[in-house]
Symmetry: C2
Subunit: 808 residues, 2 copies
């Protein structure tokens, strides 16, 4: 750790500069209040009347003046220093502030030409805010310059770090509200500075804004002694710089000084690391800005204090149309900014207001990093042939699918070694998930102390591991939104930790896709492994396949779910998702040794189709140990029963069941269908991947029993297929929360997904089989009974299960 700081040089802000900064700030405050309140009379050219005011008052005033102050002063230093900078607005419910600044700097009009930078545009700007057909009240995809939704709090700082990674010339300012600072994800993200390389990464400048209140309460960090807060921030590895006050002139000076101090400090840190090669982790600056909530708004309303209290959180004056006193207060408040000094008669900002604003792409609202698709390059995914496992016959060999994927990712890491636009994130599980081949090319980012026994920890490593799924997700989102690529590998059960973050990212993408000015970004790719069926050793707490259900509730234009059943299908899926855009791809794949069913060519064809008949495993012409290919629809003749499967373990059990059926009931015509792309089951029109009914019927028949072994909760398959023909003949097996610490095979037995149970299901469901196949059914039941006794005695699975392989 080093703590080199620049000499404290007094920032010289002339009175003229100060006046210009204040004018910009007042203009932004005026425009923020105007958005919340006004439908008409935007310049207050006439006395304010009730009908000028919106009938429904929405928005968050409280945080807006603080955000406006930060934006004003970021403008100043960006212009003065020619910085390449973006800002993450953690208190993003202060949407009016960020929009106001964007309009002032011209980026809003550049993005939305109908919102001109004049009186007509100002009227439109005001009206559209939080109004039907208009824009959201929070910072959102619609907001130029933003990569961060302001609705759900907690993720700003992780987003900022994600944006800064591999952008050595970028400054990412990050305003953290003292409300957001109470959340877990934000609290964890402070330690991101142990992963930021001052040489290869850019800088993050956190600005902790203590306006003191949340919706209805003071905030914790505003109510601990400043010394204690400083200890906390120093404990996080930062050097705090305080700006405190409520006198605008004094605060402007202090803020200008603080910004200069912080940026000088960052410059010294980067120079020390880059030019002098000092490898110690630096202590980065943080600005603590303490200004009143709702600053410059009404001090008191109806006899109660508002400015500087939680009452300023949303709309300080709530009855403006009906209460003349409120109307008067609103007019006084808005005129206190002296709009006539700020805007000319046509509503155009006067030169003094615009003096601090940087030029062109230096403006926060137009920096291309905040519209990352503009910077995105194709990811160089190498040919799969090099990594595909050879498959002479289905099931003739075993591989760990994620380990095979790891080899591919190693190549991606190598191909991006100079470009540095691909990262792998995970909560301390990269090696556990068998992806460690990547360490052949890059290491794990680590800026804290190292010991000789450490492995693969390096400055600038592009694998990011911290035991926080939240931080991993936040980093990756920030990285993708600024135009790069990545993958998040996670234990399947614990990805629920980021359910809500995934929601918000999917919502962001859904909205961004509908905005023509936002360029597509790389998809967020999840690799969910160490999955439910192989958590027999860690037990019930580690068993949860529900993330698929969770994301499938979200916008179908964004969500994709894949369950590749073996190594080569995982490669084919990975190749697709890594190249894709604007999706959230969920890939569920095992890390345990798994039979190789398809060679690369078959895997590609199968994944492209998303679901298909495995003729080599089915009864019928062309099947039965034939050429190992995959049939088209309806190949192999009409079956007596369909055994369908999705997921690696269900596929294993279905094939073992098919094997048992071929042996014990050789005249039964069995069709095996494997589903990789789960959305293919959905009706056409409900998901872009949904297959036509005709295709569905060709796979699953219109009248034969379908026994479907699914990786997750069985009712998911029903909810996807309830409109299909033959749904009443569909019988799904899957995980039904019957978990514990046991053996792998016992997990499937407990949940009735095992091969013996599936054979029994077939016998129970195929008409006319019950009597004839009764002895077979009894034999299956006997094995299940024997299994129970065996595992309790031996602690391992039955030899006939452990040793089974596909031999047809």
């Amino acid at each position: 750790m080093h703590d080199v700081r620049p000499p404290a040089e007094a920032t010289v802000v002339t009175d003229e500069e100060l006046a210009a900064l204040d004018a910009h700030w007042r203009a932004a405050n005026y425009l923020s209040a105007g958005q919340i309140y006004l439908l008409a009379n935007p310049l207050l050219t006439e006395p304010l009347r009730p009908e000028h005011v919106k009938p429904r008052l929405l928005g968050h005033w409280g945080t807006s003046p603080g955000l406006n102050l930060v934006h004003t002063h970021l403008n100043r230093v960006i212009a003065a220093r020619g910085l390449d900078a973006i800002c993450i607005w953690g208190p993003g419910h202060g949407g009016p502030a960020v929009v106001a600044n964007s309009w002032l700097e011209g980026s809003y009009t550049q993005t939305y030409p109908d919102v001109t930078r004049d009186a007509a545009g100002m009227a439109r700007l005001f009206r559209q805010f939080s109004f039907p057909g208009g824009i959201p009240s929070h910072v959102a995809p619609e907001t130029p310059g933003s990569i961060h939704e302001g609705g759900e709090l907690g993720y700003s700082l992780a987003h900022a770090y994600g944006a800064a990674l591999d952008n050595p010339d970028l400054l990412v300012a990050c305003v953290i509200g003292d409300g957001e600072a109470e959340t877990g994800p934000l609290a964890a993200a402070w330690h991101s500075n142990k992963f930021l390389d001052p040489v290869r990464d850019g800088a993050v400048l956190p600005i902790l804004h203590l306006n003191g209140y949340k919706i209805a309460n003071p905030t914790v960090l505003a109510r601990i002694p400043e010394k204690e807060l400083d200890e906390l921030l120093r404990g996080y590895g930062h050097h705090p710089i305080h700006v405190t006050g409520d006198d605008p002139a004094l605060v402007h000076r202090a803020m200008a000084e603080a910004m200069d101090t912080a940026l000088d400090h960052i410059a010294v840190i980067q120079r020390t690391a880059r030019d002098e090669g000092i490898p110690d982790r630096p202590r980065w600056p943080v600005i603590v800005l303490r200004t009143p909530k709702g600053w410059t708004g009404p001090a008191e309303v109806d006899g109660l204090p508002v400015e500087g209290t939680w009452r300023a959180h949303q709309v300080p004056l709530s009855e403006v149309r009906s209460n003349p006193d409120h109307l008067r207060q609103l007019e006084e408040w808005m005129r206190s900014y002296r709009p006539e000094e700020l805007f000319d008669a046509e509503g155009r900002p006067r030169p003094q207001v615009l003096a601090c604003i940087p030029e062109g792409a230096h403006r926060l609202g137009t920096n291309p990093h905040a519209n990352g698709g503009l910077l995105l390059r194709e990811l160089p995914v190498p040919p799969l042939e090099k990594h595909a496992v050879p498959v002479d016959k289905p099931g003739g060999s075993l591989h760990e699918p994620t380990r095979v994927l790891g080899d591919l990712l190693e190549d991606v890491m190598a191909a991006t070694a100079d470009r540095r636009d691909f990262r792998l994130v995970g909560p301390d599980e990269t090696a556990s998930n068998r992806l460690q081949a990547v360490y052949g090319v890059t290491g794990k980012a680590w800026e804290a102390e190292t010991l000789p026994t450490d492995e693969y920890l390096v400055r600038g490593g592009r694998v990011m591991e911290i035991l926080s799924e939240h931080t991993c997700q936040g980093w990756l989102e920030g990285y993708l939104l600024t135009g790069r690529h990545g993958l998040f590998s996670c234990y399947e059960a614990f990805v629920h930790i980021v359910d809500s973050m995934a929601n918000q990212h999917i919502k962001w993408l859904r909205t961004a896709r509908r905005l023509t000015w936002r360029a597509p970004i790389a998809s967020l790719n999840y690799l969910l492994t160490s999955h439910v069926w192989r958590q027999d050793h860690n037990g019930f707490s580690h068993q949860d396949p529900g993330f698929v259900d969770h994301v499938l509730n979200k916008s179908p234009e964004v969500v994709r779910v894949y369950l590749p059943p073996d190594a080569n299908t995982l490669l084919a899926v990975a190749d697709h998702v890594l190249r894709s855009r604007d999706y959230v791809n969920v890939v569920v794949a095992g890390k345990q040794p798994c039979f190789d069913w398809l060679d690369l060519e078959q895997a590609r064809a199968h994944c492209a189709r998303g679901a298909g008949i495995w003729e080599w495993a089915s009864t019928g012409e062309g099947g039965e140990g034939g050429e190992g290919g995959e049939g088209g629809e309806g190949g192999g003749g009409e079956p007596d029963v369909v055994l369908a499967c999705a997921g690696d373990v269900p596929t294993l059990e279905v094939l073992a069941a098919a094997d048992l059926l071929h042996r014990h009931l050789p005249d039964l015509r069995v069709r095996v269908v494997n589903v990789v792309d789960i959305a293919r089951l959905m009706p056409q029109g409900e998901h872009p991947h949904g297959m036509p009914d005709q295709e569905y019927d060709a796979l699953f028949t219109r009248d034969k029993p379908v026994i479907f072994a699914y990786h997750g909760y069985p009712w998911l398959i029903h909810r996807l297929t309830y409109r299909r023909a033959n749904h009443s003949n569909l019988h799904v097996r899957g995980y039904k929360e019957e978990g514990t610490t046991t053996t792998p095979f016992d997990m499937v037995v407990r949940n009735d997904l095992d091969r013996y149970r599936l054979v029994m299901d077939v016998i129970d469901r195929v008409p006319g089989l019950a009597v004839r196949a009764a002895p077979v059914r009894q034999a299956m039941a006997d094995v299940r009974f024997r299994h129970e006794g065996w595992i309790r005695e031996h602690g391992t699975d039955l030899p006939e299960v452990a040793d089974w392989s596909w031999t047809r």
Copy 2:
């Protein structure tokens, strides 16, 4: 803030005491390793042979010696001071350690009499660990003395604070692993000390265990300078006490001293607050224990360092059955504890080993707070009559349902003022969610600085607000698990933040219910409000009704979901869930003014039934503005169409649609069915509340179109009902991610849940209606079109929507 500490007095630990502590620790280490490795030969009375070793080696050795050290030293101070104490074991994957200690102190045998405290019991103890039919490898419900699952990391400290609340005489020790310390929920929970009242609450003693490594990486907190770590802990409001070392004798002395220092400090804090009435927030002690990972295990294996590195995380020697060198190392390792000194020939622990163990319920494994149901008292829920809203006719008045509930909760708060066993938690939303009546009786817990403008902040307040859903959930779980009652009120969308915590709590309850020795505890009650349909102002990010889907994937014996449609039904549901045991109850209810449909008696009957026909809203005999009662099944004659609803806004739209149908198509026989208890839709046998097919058919008919307006994602209703008769005739409307910032009614229009769309659905689905009702259908479509233009012009909903009321 005050920082009073006791004078530093040297703890005098005699050599004899030291030897006894070390013997206990060695015994616990021996038993931990034994559980991981041995199937037989538990006392090593014969040379270790491969067949004595488990065929599958599972478990986590790395953290175990540290946990054993903490347990040993907690034993010492509990016995010496006669403390009432429990411990939360954050690194709960060290299950063998906690189980070993429980066995040593006799609480394991007391709980599981077949695991005797002798050689036979030791053999059973070893065999059962992580073995089919045995116990989980993590600390789990099966573990005596635990209220904290060790599988998913992040929640230990919040659980500890929850346990300490309102237990002034309880000490809650909490071991926090340095891996867990990286998670967001844990990082946020440190600030819980701003909410702990030293007078009315007990003490939490965090013990941050820095063994330096996670699965495959060093930990952040172990690799920052000690000074920086101290700043961090002081910034969290703690006084750090360090214990560092790898020489057991020295560490024992240091740990004993640290424990005494910390407990003396806590005693001073409590005395200062309780006897001297000093109101300042104290600086609480924290112990930082820095010992090697896998301490006392193999130093090197196969030439690579293991002890003191991440390689000690799980099973240090992995090939014991096949590699003679590993076998030899295991035997040496286990003999290094000198088992013959620790256990007599019959395998009973020798007196020296047991010397430090406290008596009876003072033992950590038998303290009743860790089996909270033993301490649970009935919650005094007052009669609902006082709070019920009068309903002379359906829809004749409006109330905000959650505000009415708030009045009831005020009474519950009053009735528990002395008992102090009920708390309300929420992320800064209690007043926003209209529950502020509780402030008439109690305030919001707050120990940090206050200002004159603050409202309702008091020491010892029983409303807990912090802007962290994780911390809220963790506090409440800890509070409930130690035998108290509570409610979590949360914005519906953001409860997804705790999806994974809810998973784990449901899993805990499911397992605990199957353990006869665990007494039932109060249910975890969620009030989800500020729900999807009334987030038109906050927009898309605040709109997510998917938590219901999430929990319904979990064990049906635990999960209950209620959607009361008005104020009195909310009261009836609240009365039920607040009295219930061992459930997770999800109650979704609005805070906006809502028509009162049922009087209290009707509401109670309706909620008891969970779903029923609203005859007063249906066509037919006894219906049509009749006595306002609810009919039995099949009342009102056979309908032409069923309009079903679940949730307050869908109920409103369905009734408005019924009103339109009664007016425009008076001869159409419409039945209105309302569902409160969503699980009633499930088949009998799949959920305890699932209704028999006969009852379902009586409500929904076997052949008539059913238009179902549901609060959340529409496919949920399909997945619950796909096995029912008439499912192909079921048409569900609900939220389909078509959200934005708009008006309330536009939200339902965008998602096709509005009254006009429902009428069109009826016309489209009832055979023979299409032609005859075409003009009505067109009229409905016209209103929807007009609506769009109106809101874009006026920003508020159509007058005919805003002014509608039920007038029949």
